[in-house]
Amino acid sequence: MALESHSQPAVSSAELRYLAFSAGSERYALPLDRVAGVQPEGPITRVPGATALVRGVMNLRGRLLAVVDLAAVLGLPVRPPGQGHVVVVRTADLEAGLLVDHADEILAVEPGAIEPRLSTLPGERAEFLDGQVRCSLGLVGLLRLERVLEAAQHG
């Protein structure tokens, strides 16, 4: 699934755009400017010694991409390999893949529509969220990408 295939809603200049995706029965999103693409889950090679949160490395057009299992990071049930999608993400320091069930759609979000994260979320999950939005998909958690990758690196 190419990222470009998602329908993109009309956005005003004040709106923020996020890519929403599914992990287990839950929905999460990342700012679109952190997303470099979405790939079907290909063969992933396990890396000895890597934390349990890093599923392995995969070939991304001749480059090596470390793939982080988002469900494992968030403490959700981990899906068997082979049928998910990899959201390719970028920070200032690195590029990595987030293994998710599937990408949903691009959300246009008014800044004022972002709610604080639920105080009832389990502690280990709450630390990975900046907030949440309500939309046609339901409740969508806005991920703190750096925190997710940091957790994957250190287990």
Binding site: G42, P43, I44, T45, R46, V47, P48, G49, A50, T51, V54, G56, V57, M58, N59, G62, R63, L64, L65, A66, V68, D93, L94, E95, A96, L149, A152, Q153
Partner: protein, 139 residues
């Protein structure tokens, strides 16, 4: 363009590559050789769960302090790749893997194959890390 010869081996269901310049020989595992030279359990050294009933072969490699023997399931193939095809592991996978002698990988038929450097592996020989016999270690 400089080329690198790689030997592909299978360990615990995983395919790994070793530079052939570091390989002395591959031979059928013989438990009697333990008396003269310990055969280290490569699956265990890499933290992989062995899938076969026991080691089929010994991979004899050059390391800085001499020779090290590793148990493997089988040797698969020998191939040449350009040196540029050996890619460093990405940061999220680099640190812990380097301690196990893995710093690079190569993409073969679209799949990532880790390149093992036996000279960078920790060679701590203990009773648990050596292989007893071909069929006695079915973990």
């Amino acid at each position: 363009m400089a080329e690198c010869q790689l030997l592909l081996v299978e360990v615990a269901g995983e395919r790994l590559a070793v530079r052939s310049s570091q390989v002395v020989e591959v031979r059928v595992f013989d438990p009697r050789s333990q008396a003269t030279r310990p055969v280290l359990d490569l699956a265990e050294a890499l933290g992989l769960a062995r899938q076969s009933a026991g080691p089929g072969y010994e991979l004899v490699t050059r390391v800085p302090r001499g020779i090290a023997c590793w148990s493997i399931d089988q040797a698969q193939d020998m191939l040449a790749v350009p040196e540029e095809a050996l890619l460093p592991l990405p940061p999220l996978a680099r640190g812990p893997a380097a301690e196990r002698g893995i710093r690079a990988a190569v993409v073969l038929e679209g799949r990532v194959v880790l390149v093992l450097d036996p000279g960078e592996m920790r060679l701590e020989v203990s009773a648990e890390s050596t292989v007893d016999s071909p069929r006695s270690t079915g973990r």
